[in-house]
Amino acid sequence: MMLLLRELKIMLRSPAGAIQSLMFSVLVIALFPLAITPDPDQLEPLGIGLIWVVTLLSCLLAADKSLAGDYADGSLEQMVLSDYPLWWVCLVKSMAHWVSCALPLLLMAPILGAMLAMPLDRIVWLMASLVLGSPILSLFCMLGAMLTVGLNQSSALLPILIAPFLVPTLILGTQWATTGGEAFYGYMLAALLCLSLVTLPFATAVVAKIAVSR
C-alpha cells in the first residue's frame, strides 16, 4: 500500500507527465478530422477505433518514462532488494501507469467522442471497453518498460516489442464497443484481463531482476 501511495504522490507532485500524454491524445484525435474529413457521417464509424489506437499509443509512449526515473536514481534496485514481493511492485507500477496514462484518457473519452461526432450510446460502450481493456495495456507496457529500461533507444524500442502483444486487446476492445456490447467479446476481454492480471506481474518481476543486474 505504501508503494502505491508513493507512486501516486510522485504523480501528483509532478503531473506534467500525465498532462502531456493526455494532451498528446487530444491533439492526435484533433488531427484526424483535419486529415480525413470534418464530415460527421464519415467520422462517426471511425471514432471507436481511433480513440482505442490513440489510447494504445499514448500508453506505449508513456511507458518508458514510468520506470526511467526509478532506474536512474536506483530506487528500482532498492525495490527489487526490498521485502515487498517483486510481483506486487510490478503490479503497483502498472497501476500507477494506468492511473497516469489511461485514466485521464478514459475520463476525457466523452469529449474525444464528441470531437469525432460519436453518439452517446457508442461513447458509453467505448468507455466500458476501455475500462476492461486499458489495464491490459498498462500491464503489457510495464513489461516492455522493464525489458527496455536502461537501454539506449528504449523509447523507440518499447513500442516495437510490445505492440504485437496488444493486438488481441485492441481487437476485442474495439469489437466489443462497435458491436454495442456483444457478450462474446466482452467475456473474452474480461478473460484476457484476468489472465494478464495473474501472469504479467510475475513475468515483469522476472524481467526486473534481469534489468537491475544489467
Partner: protein, 244 residues
C-alpha cells in the same frame, strides 16, 4: 539422458561433433530442394482453377509452415536457456531469430504475390495474413531487443523472456485475429476448403517442406557454430583450433 544433455550443452563438444552434420544437411537440402523445385515448378500439373500461379504454393506453403515452427523452436530454446542457463541455447535463440524473420518475410512476400492473381490484390486483411504479419513483428521485437541490449548475458535473458511470452501469446493473437476476421469480412475465399490435392501436387509440396526444413537446420547450424566460436574466442579449445 542427463549425460547426453550436458555433453551437447557444452559449446566445445557441440562444435566438434556437429561439424559432421553440415555436409549431410547440405547434401540433403540441396538434393531435396532441387528435386522439389524441379518437380513442383516443371512437372506438377497446373491447377484447373488457379492455372500456373498455383506453383507459388511450392515456396509459399513451406515458408509459412517453417515460419511458425521456427518461432516455436526459438521459444523452446529460450525457455531452455532461461531454466538451465545453457550458453548454447542462448546462442541458438540469437542465431535462429534472423533466419526465422527472413522466412516469415518470404512467406508474406510469396503470399502477397500469390494473392495478386488469385484475389486481385497484393494484400487482404485475412486472418492468416494478419497473424503471419504479427509473427514477423514478434521476430523483429526479439531481434531489436537483442541489438539494443548488446551481447551481454542479461541481454540474452531479456530476449529469451520476450520470446517465451511471445509463444504463450501466439494462440491468443491467432484466435483474436480469427474472431475479428470472421466478423469483418465474409469468407469469400478460403485456403482450407480446397478440394483434396492429388498426389502429383502434394508430393512435390511435401518434398519442398522437407527441403525447407533441411535448409533451415543447415543455416541455423552454420550460424550457431560461428556464434559459438565468436563467444568462446578466449577459451582454450578455440585458441587451439585457430593454431591448427
Amino acid at each position: 539422458m542427463w549425460r547426453w544433455f550436458h555433453q551437447w550443452g557444452s559449446p566445445k563438444f557441440f562444435y566438434h561433433r556437429s561439424g559432421a552434420l553440415i555436409p549431410v544437411l547440405a547434401l540433403a537440402s540441396g538434393l531435396i530442394l532441387g528435386a522439389g523445385v524441379f518437380w513442383g515448378l516443371l512437372i506438377a500439373p497446373a491447377d484447373y482453377q488457379q492455372g500456373e500461379s498455383v506453383r507459388i504454393m511450392y515456396v509459399h506453403v513451406p515458408a509459412a509452415i517453417l515460419a511458425q515452427s521456427s518461432y516455436a523452436m526459438m521459444a523452446v530454446m529460450a525457455l531452455i536457456s532461461l531454466i538451465w542457463r545453457l550458453k548454447i541455447a542462448d546462442a541458438a535463440v540469437q542465431t535462429v531469430a534472423p533466419i526465422g524473420a527472413c522466412i516469415t518475410l518470404l512467406a508474406l512476400a510469396t503470399g502477397s504475390l500469390w494473392g495478386k492473381p488469385m484475389w486481385g490484390t497484393y494484400w487482404v486483411w485475412d486472418a492468416r495474413l494478419t497473424s503471419t504479419l504479427i509473427l514477423f513483428f514478434l521476430f523483429a521485437g526479439v531481434l531489436a531487443l537483442r541489438n539494443a541490449a548488446g551481447q551481454s548475458q542479461t541481454a540474452g535473458r531479456a530476449a529469451s523472456v520476450l520470446a517465451v511470452i511471445g509463444l504463450l501469446n501466439l494462440p491468443i493473437i491467432k484466435y483474436s485475429v480469427d474472431w475479428w476476421f470472421t466478423l469483418h469480412q465474409p469468407a469469400s475465399f478460403t485456403l482450407t476448403d480446397r478440394p483434396a490435392m492429388p498426389f502429383s501436387m502434394w508430393g512435390p509440396l511435401l518434398m519442398m517442406v522437407v527441403g525447407f526444413y533441411a535448409w533451415f537446420f543447415l543455416a541455423w547450424l552454420i550460424r550457431l557454430r560461428h556464434e559459438l566460436v565468436k563467444r568462446e574466442i578466449r577459451s582454450d579449445w578455440v585458441q587451439q583450433m585457430m593454431k591448427q
